[in-house]
């Protein structure tokens, strides 16, 4: 029998507390705080009251978690890699946008 998955959430719609972000990304909160100190992970909006994290932070935290586990990277190095991956993603998106605008017969 097929089980219907009802609770399906777009990553884009996540708004998380620090504890939730730590839980979902499997990163300990102190590591997340260190990544925030480096500016690699940023909370949303003005820093009043409890910190809230959006989809960009979740994406970064999940990658950071894998990089730490699979490469045994220090937090500072993780921050640098995250910055570069961001840049790669940005360029990739630009490239895709340009390719979409190219007429097919000219590619």
């Amino acid at each position: 029998m097929r089980v219907e998955l009802n609770e399906v959430i777009w990553i884009e719609q996540h708004v998380l507390s620090l504890a939730e972000l730590a839980e979902i990304s499997h990163l300990p909160a102190p590591v997340l705080e260190e990544l925030m100190d480096c500016g690699a992970i940023e909370p949303m909006g003005p820093a009043t009251g409890e910190l809230r994290f959006g989809p960009a932070a979740l994406k970064a935290a999940r990658i950071a978690s894998r990089l730490r586990a699979d490469f045994e990277l220090e937090t500072q190095a993780v921050a640098v890699v995250l910055g570069l991956l961001d840049r790669v993603d940005e360029l990739h998106a630009q490239l895709r946008a340009l390719q979409a605008r190219q007429p097919r017969s000219h590619r």
């Binding site: 097929r2 089980v3 998955l5 499997h26 990089l67 699979d70 605008r101 097919r104």
Partner: protein
């Protein structure tokens, strides 16, 4: 279960030192890690490498693996009962053909001897979900068949098939992810269950190309249509649309059809762009040729007027 050669996965001989194992893993991880690699099959490759390393880097797991002897990769084999008694932290179901070699080692005592086993969060699973542009437009239902390692009532490790259906709401586009909380691997020792992630990608479409929620469509026009203007029908995921092509439309011009692209998750809709191409028939008839000749004679248009002036500057 199928035998896997963890040494050859890392490109090593059986007698490799710990240092060689570490170096081989590092070199291959850098090349194939899915977060940093653009190799086409990086994900599968890295899984093999990581699995081999997880087992070989731990002296106890490595000893247990070596005790299994050597078999040709992919050969069906069963670890003898004595092996299970000596090494396995988790009893497994010997007749379960789906059980993966990695399941055995993941649950082997190994390093975890350091202390009492605490509660562990279940693994996250990621599944690639390719959908068509039409499915992204309307939303769709996908069927997922996953095999997850789990303990049964007898505390035996088994591979349990899970059949899910998930609704992909409209608004999906390439590279977006959906998270299904608690539907990943089962937590261990009372830990919470992992999550399931659906990675959406768009299959190539014969007509449209997607960029975010915008769609691009090639719009071929005959030279006279571009020159005189016309009203034509163009396809869109929502159905045919009438588009007015103004007189004097140049090639490569983008005609924007606002709100006719892919819907966005919460509100709004991307745009559809029709990119003008001026195309010529590959064969022309005699009367057509005569008309072109008449046009050539009548027209004073010089499409290369700028050549003369620009070339003049260069001199």
């Amino acid at each position: 279960m199928k035998y896997k050669d963890y040494y050859s996965a890392l490109g090593l001989e059986r007698g490799a030192t710990d240092d060689q194992i570490k170096k081989a893993y590092r070199r291959l991880a850098r090349k194939y890690h899915p977060d940093v690699s653009k190799e086409p099959d990086a994900e599968a490759k890295f899984k093999e490498i990581a699995e081999a390393y997880q087992t070989l880097k731990d002296p106890e797991k490595r000893a247990a693996y070596d005790q299994l002897g050597t078999h040709p990769p992919g050969e069906e084999f069963q670890p003898p009962p004595s092996w299970q008694q000596q090494y396995s932290g988790a009893p497994f179901s010997a007749e379960d053909l789906n059980l993966d070699l990695s399941d055995l080692f993941a649950h082997l005592r190994g390093e975890s001897r350091r202390g009492p086993r605490g509660a562990m969060r279940g693994r996250d699973f990621e599944v690639a979900v390719p959908i068509t542009i039409d499915e992204a437009y309307h939303g769709t239902q996908v069927e997922l068949d996953l095999n997850m390692p789990e303990y049964d009532e007898q505390g035996q490790l088994r591979r349990v098939p899970h059949a899910f259906t998930a609704r992909v709401p409209k608004g999906a586009t390439d590279g977006q992810r959906l998270r299904v909380p608690g539907k990943g691997g089962k937590g261990i020792n009372g830990g919470p269950d992992g999550d399931l992630y659906l990675n959406i990608s768009l299959r190539p479409h014969p007509l449209y190309r997607a960029s975010g929620h915008d769609l691009y469509l090639d719009l071929p026009l005959a030279p006279w249509e571009a020159a005189l203007g016309t009203s034509i029908e163009v396809p869109s995921p929502g159905g045919m649309l009438r588009l007015k092509v103004p007189a004097g439309t140049q090639a490569a011009r983008q005609l924007r059809l606002p709100g006719r692209g892919l819907p966005k998750p919460r509100e709004g809709q991307g745009d559809l762009y029709a990119i003008v191409q001026i195309v010529l028939p590959s064969v022309i008839t005699e009367p057509e040729r005569a008309l072109y000749q008449q046009l050539a004679a009548a027209s004073a248009f010089d499409p290369r007027a700028h050549f003369a002036s620009e070339a003049g500057h260069a001199r």
